[in-house]
């Protein structure tokens, strides 16, 4: 085979290789322009940003990637908090209900005891003091007035 034929063969083969490679690169470009179906990367770049030494655009792309991840995490946390808030308000309502029922029960006990006392002594006893009356009584006690605890004198 003459050297000219060798050269022509090599040039044709080389051109064919270059064309195939260019077609491959164009294929990569076309595929790369399609939007990704993946989820955004997990935002673990906070530490990396401290040592960042790149261009402003690279910095912004990092920040945007982190921001979108943080926003999705915040949304999740917010949903959880709302659920917990609903559970808490339900619990609070149940607690108030229990308090109301216990007060009703204590009132019924008080009324029963007064009726019992009336039947036993034959006279109407003094009305049962309310909670406010107790506070007033406590304020009039000597140790409350003086600020020091003293023993009460027997009446």
């Amino acid at each position: 085979m003459s050297p000219d034929v060798e050269i022509v063969k090599a040039v044709i083969a080389g051109l064919a290789t270059v064309i195939v490679a260019v077609v491959g690169v164009i294929g990569v470009i076309v595929q790369a322009r399609k939007p990704s179906k993946d989820k955004p990367p997990v935002g673990d770049t906070g530490k990396a940003l401290d040592e960042f030494n790149g261009t402003q655009n690279e910095f912004m792309s990092l920040v945007i990637a982190d921001n979108s991840t943080l926003r999705s995490q915040m949304k999740d946390t917010n949903d959880k908090l709302e659920k917990m808030g609903t559970q808490l308000s339900t619990f609070q309502r149940e607690l108030l209900d229990v308090k109301q029922r216990s007060e009703n029960f204590l009132g019924a006990v008080r009324r029963y005891l007064m009726k019992l006392a009336t039947a036993w002594t034959g006279t109407e006893p003094m009305p049962w003091p309310d909670e406010e009356d107790f506070h007033i009584l406590e304020d009039t006690l000597p140790h409350k007035r003086s600020g020091t605890i003293t023993r009460r004198e027997p009446r």
């Binding site: 085979m1 060798e6 050269i7 063969k9 090599a10 083969a13 080389g14 290789t17 195939v20 490679a21 491959g24 690169v25 990569v28 595929q31 790369a32 322009r33 399609k34 939007p35 990704s36 993946d38 955004p40 990367p41 673990d44 770049t45 530490k47 990396a48 040592e51 960042f52 030494n53 790149g54 945007i64 990637a65 979108s68 991840t69 926003r71 999705s72």
Partner: protein
């Protein structure tokens, strides 16, 4: 001296081995990007350099010795360019795309040449050459798909 040290440190921070870049790579790919791929590209480039001196008979028989030498030089250049591309991860990604696509083309052509040489010259298959192709070809192919995935724009989460 100090400026040179600072420059070298700045250059190192831009490579795949600095903390900034490794933080961007998923943990399961750390070894692949920092060790395996650069080493593989280095070896492919070294194979290109080796094949300049030692003629590859399958390519020579199909396309002639001139193209054989061109193939070797192109393989060496594209292998080492791809290594530089992966070293500066995501900064020189288009350089890596170009060189890896060229690399895949050359290796595929080499595979074809092995088969053609075997058919034309009625030889037994060159198992060693095929083994070499099996070692070198799949990872650049995967890397092309991986780079496409990396280059695609990421959707915003609303």
């Amino acid at each position: 001296m100090r400026t040179m040290k600072t420059n070298l440190r700045g250059l190192f921070q831009k490579t795949v081995w600095s903390h900034y870049n490794t933080a961007q790579i998923p943990a399961r790919y750390h070894l692949l990007y920092t060790v395996i791929l650069p080493l593989k590209y280095l070896l492919i480039g070294a194979y290109g350099l080796f094949s300049i001196n030692v003629t590859i008979s399958s390519i020579d028989r199909v396309f002639g010795p001139i193209y054989g030498d061109m193939w070797s030089v192109t393989l060496m250049v594209s292998g080492w360019t791809a290594m530089v591309g992966i070293m500066f991860y995501k900064r020189l990604i288009w350089l890596e795309v170009l060189s890896v696509v060229l690399l895949v083309t050359l290796m595929t052509l080499y595979t074809g040449c092995i088969f053609f040489a075997a058919i034309l010259h009625v030889e037994t298959f060159r198992y060693l050459s095929l083994l070499l192709v099996l070692v070198f070809l799949p990872m650049p192919c995967w890397r092309v798909l991986d780079m496409i995935r990396e280059l695609r724009p990421v959707r915003n989460v609303s």
